[in-house]
Symmetry: C2
Subunit: 125 residues, 2 copies
């Protein structure tokens, strides 16, 4: 299904770029983008990239478990896409942590931008 | 923040209704709604409700850990809302399982409907 491929393609770009150089992610956010990172809210390209680049680890690796993608029918000519990712991430020498992240992607200039980004570590206690 | 309240209000309706009588949830889905449940895809009110009501447990309880909500700027006059929920659920006499669920809510008739619903148990192996 096309939306599954789109979600996987986005994830295949996003997490390697995150690991290599978080500043590169500026390309996928706009001044309309909203990010919630562990409950803290950010809006706009610069505040989001400032947050991502200030995270206090040097090395980070995301291992993706699932990527589920859906069209948002009736938005952007059915081209908007909701993606939920689950996986595990490892920062520096810490043990792996489970995480989940939701993106809303919207078409822009022949590509896609992140309208919404919600990230949580999987902690229940 | 208004969107946080909206997400919490939705969650406060959805999971108790899920526990009490899943057939009631027909009210929040439309024929445009997409649901992905553990990787299986459904579209439309009836297929979604059929899936939910056929889940093979009798008792279910969701304990919510986090609810993060954001406006989708530029959609539905900024009234569309992306919600990511994490929590634990307990079915019948099984041990609790962590889950995460994403909803896209859109305004309709003075209330909201679920445009997108993605559910996953937190399993990484």
């Amino acid at each position: 299904m096309a939306f599954q491929e789109m979600g996987k393609a986005f994830v295949g770009f996003y997490y390697p770029a995150f690991a290599e150089d978080r500043a590169k992610l500026a390309d996928v956010y706009t001044d309309q983008s909203c990010m919630t990172f562990e409950g803290a809210q950010f809006q706009g390209k610069q505040p989001i990239v400032d947050k991502l680049t200030s995270l206090p680890f040097k090395k980070v690796n995301h291992q993706i478990t699932t990527v589920d993608s859906q069209p948002i029918i009736g938005v952007d000519d059915n081209q908007a896409c909701c993606v939920m990712v689950t996986g595990q991430l490892k920062t520096d020498d810490d043990p792996p942590h489970s995480f989940h992240q939701t993106f809303v992607l919207r078409p822009a200039n022949g590509s896609f931008v992140v309208a919404n980004d919600i990230f949580r570590l999987a902690l229940h206690n």
